[in-house]
Amino acid sequence: MEYEVVVGLETHAELATVTKLFCGCSTKFGIEPNTQVCPVCLGMPGVLPVMNKKAFDYALKAAIALNCKIDEFTNFDRKSYYYPDLPKNYQISQNYYNLGADGYMDIHVNGLVSRIRIHNVHLEEEAGKLIHPEEVGADYSLVDFNRAGVPLLEIVSYPDMRNVDEVESYMQTLKKILLYTEVSDCKMQEGSLRFEASISLRKKGSEKLGNRVEIKNLNSMKSVLRALEYETKRQTDSLGRGETIDRETRLWDEVNEKSARMRSKEEAQDYRYFPEPDLLPVLVDRKWIAEIKETIPELPLAKKQRFMEVFKLSDYDTSLLVEEKVLADLFEDCIKILDRPKVFCNWIANDLLREVNEKKLDIHQLPVRPKQLAALVEMIEKGTISSTIAKEVFSEMILTGNDPQVIVEEKKLTQINDEGFIGAVIAKIISSNPSAIEDYKKGKKNALVFLVGQVMKETKGKANPKMVNELLQKKID
């Protein structure tokens, strides 16, 4: 029997505000536990939440960027459950009137565009963090409430994904949109962006959905994909043996790469949602939506298509450029100074990214300015420096932010175009490498490459390579 995989994702993203959703406590990460708390986020009796305007704006921005319908009326609800990381025993969330609904996001998979529908986008408060002591036999857990009350955006997709490639593209595209709109820093290692997957299998061609299994504890995109592969196999095997799939929640075990039953959905949680009486409704008018729309930049997929069309760049190159908004911006700013799309694309997509990876640089803190990169390209075109030297200059520019002209001047890297000087070096190399000359005359063309290399080495890479090649050939032919 052939089965079709059906996947939906729930995404949680911490919003990039400096204070919590309902109080003025800082949201800074990595601070001493329980020092960024107050009576409001600790859930003390009698306190009242007041909504953070920026958090609401960010949530609205994300909902609009995900093509959601925004109802004029939105409200918050209490979701009741008992867990030690939840100080009030309820979470302020949205259930009856979500901020955004019925949206969609287009994703690229193997050159094709798929549209994944978004069920809803809503705003809620983050829970605290539980720490499980490592000591053997410890009969307690520890709680840090610094995270409690941080604004959290939840994005719920429809079960529209049919394979892991689509799931991967969905996660990457969504992350890029959240980064482009600057509503979240999306740092997965800090828990700012988290995914939960629901997966079911159905007979190919069937419309009816199978029982859905939710997978939690997915710490990275990689674990989402591994868990889905594991779960697809587990369910396929199970169905193959004639068993049925229970509707349940499973926990992904990162170390052993297995999922295990967490709780049966039979005893499904009853959250007893009801309107939060401590908060007032929010009315979102057309003017407000229009203002937020103004702040949404061109999104990655649209940018990629434009780069391909306008600058005639490849699918691969453009996907590297739009990976980070700062790179796409740098590229466009360079083009404005000097119209060499392919050249700048290569510098950014190859050299810059290589340097960033090798030296573990923060892409958002690079000191190099568009003007400087354009100046470097001009210096190569004018023959002031060779392209080999340019790479050396570039790797210094990216660290120090110094002008290429200054680096070339200081390190005396200007290209040598003096025929007399190069000729003298060539004469020296010829006389000290008689065997290479022999080889060349016997027809070994490689010997010429070797000799050019020797001349370049002698001049510390500064001789004009084209000139060296021509002069050398003239001399020994």
Partner: protein
């Protein structure tokens, strides 16, 4: 709607409350009384009335995203039944 004993047990479990058999009986009666009183509202035609989620006619109250001082760790832990260092200490969470 008629509240039965199993409904009382269900909500008591959700709220982590232990009830004696006598208490369960008492609550079955009391909750049914309350619900039948409220049921009087069903006599009204509410077809054109929008659900109300707030008793006052005020909307869009916000604060700006500006950091305010948090409270001291000492004050934070003042009412805690159990602490360990900077943390709150709770019974082991299994899952």
């Amino acid at each position: 709607m008629k509240i039965k004993k199993k409904d009382i047990e269900y909500v008591a479990n959700l709220s982590r409350i232990e009830l004696s058999e006598i208490e369960k009986e008492t609550f079955v009666h009391q909750l049914n009384d309350i619900l039948s009183y409220i049921e009087k509202l069903n006599r009204l035609n509410t077809e054109t009335v929008k659900p109300m989620s707030c008793a006052i006619d005020v909307t869009n109250i916000f604060r700006e995203d500006i950091v305010e001082p948090s409270i001291s760790l000492e004050d934070t832990q003042l009412n805690a039944p159990a602490i360990k260092g900077v943390f709150f200490k709770v019974p082991k969470v299994i899952e």
